[in-house]
Amino acid sequence: MAESLLTIEGLCVRYGGIEAVRSLDMEVATGETVVIVGANGAGKSSVMNAVMGMVPTAEGRMTFDGREVTSMSTADRAKLGIRISPEGRRVFANLTIEENILAGGYTMGAKDREASVAWLFDTFPLLSKRRTARAGTLSGGQQQLVAIARALTARPKLLLLDEPFLGLSPVAIGDTSAAISVVQAQGMAVLISEQMARPALKLASRGYVLRAGALRRSGDVAEIRELALSEDYL
């Protein structure tokens, strides 16, 4: 395995007295795609949000790109090269597609940002055609592409995709999968959380299965698929 990019040791996430994630160990290598599979409420989003710093780490340690990030702010983690396409997409509804993508490059210099936006519009012609449309007016599938593109502007080292296929039509699932393939071709590491694991498993090389906030199993995709099938996740 290549060098580790993200290392999580003994992660616990709590909301009030409720333990959403319990002593989880996890690793993502540079350029690797990893999937987290689990039912609703298994703690997948909590892991994603903890990596982004959007929920606090109650216990455990997290390192990213050789640096301890456990208590680092969300904006600082973004600056280090972590980006999220969150659950529910959460595009900036009143901004146009182009403005959403520009917003994703907030930490970059103007020149790099413009170049990145041009590259993204080349890569996603679906978005290019509607670049001046307000993001709030788009379909779920288009919004998912905007959320992914917005997360890519700054060319992150690690892309977090929280439930990218949820609620999408089969065509939109195909578009989203294609977008993720583009990310992989760029050599970025991807961590995908998914309840509906089928499309995600096709993209990933390794996976983790969560149940009730705890690690049930980890391994290569074949093993994960087998377990997920037998336990009815697919």
Partner: protein, 289 residues
Amino acid sequence: MGEFIQTTIGGLTLGAQYALMALGFSLAFGILRVINFAHGAFYVVGGYLAYWITNEVGLPYVLGVIVAVLGTAAIGYVFELFVIERRIDDHLATIVMTLGASLIGGAAMLSLFGAQAAQFEGGLTGTFRFGGVFVPHARVMIIAVAGLAIAAVYLLLYKTQVGNALRALTDDREMAVAMGMRPKVLFPMAFAIATGLAGLTGALVTPQFSLAPFVGEHVLMISFLAVILGGLGSLPGAVIASVLVGLVEAFVGTYVGGSWAPLILFTGILVLLVARPSGLLGHRTIIDA
């Protein structure tokens, strides 16, 4: 005809006043989610700063306006950074803080300049005359400067990366932060722009209308109504509604009688809001905001 044109100019002047106030108020509310009850106090402080520079220091009025804008923006910046920012997510706390700041601002002006209305001299004087129509220079200046300030805010918000970030923060603060935007840097700046607009309004219009320690309350109330009428969170809505309110106030004042203006205005707004609770251009009502 002359009366009609003069009333229109008067209405546009009032509208420009309300629009500048409503714009600043909406900016602070939209971006920080803070209802700034001190917005009227910044108007008053702006007025007194211009008055002080022009009448007591004896410098040109233009300098007074510039000092008023920079001064109120600086006070707003510091107030946001050191006071509001500490409790930014606690709405009750920010209401108390801004209400407190409003009282302090009024009381400070009372102590420094006295309770008597200030006799502002040295503002723009002179009148344009076309046939029987008289239009004071100051009114034209107020409308023009307000238009320029509104255009500048528009360009900032829609044509710059900082403006894009401010609008992203308005839409989804948590996601904006996840893109690397820092509220601790951007919020004081946004608040300073908002209070600077209030200061500008005060410096522009108090030489024409009146300047006393608590005149800001009334202007803020009308502007606040215009914000709700325009649709909470909609900047174009706030500007359009402000101009409408100013015109209604002026026309009712001229053709029906000055004392009727508030009654007709408030009743009209009430009826409009019953028919259209989210305002002219708004998507949400004050309750879900």
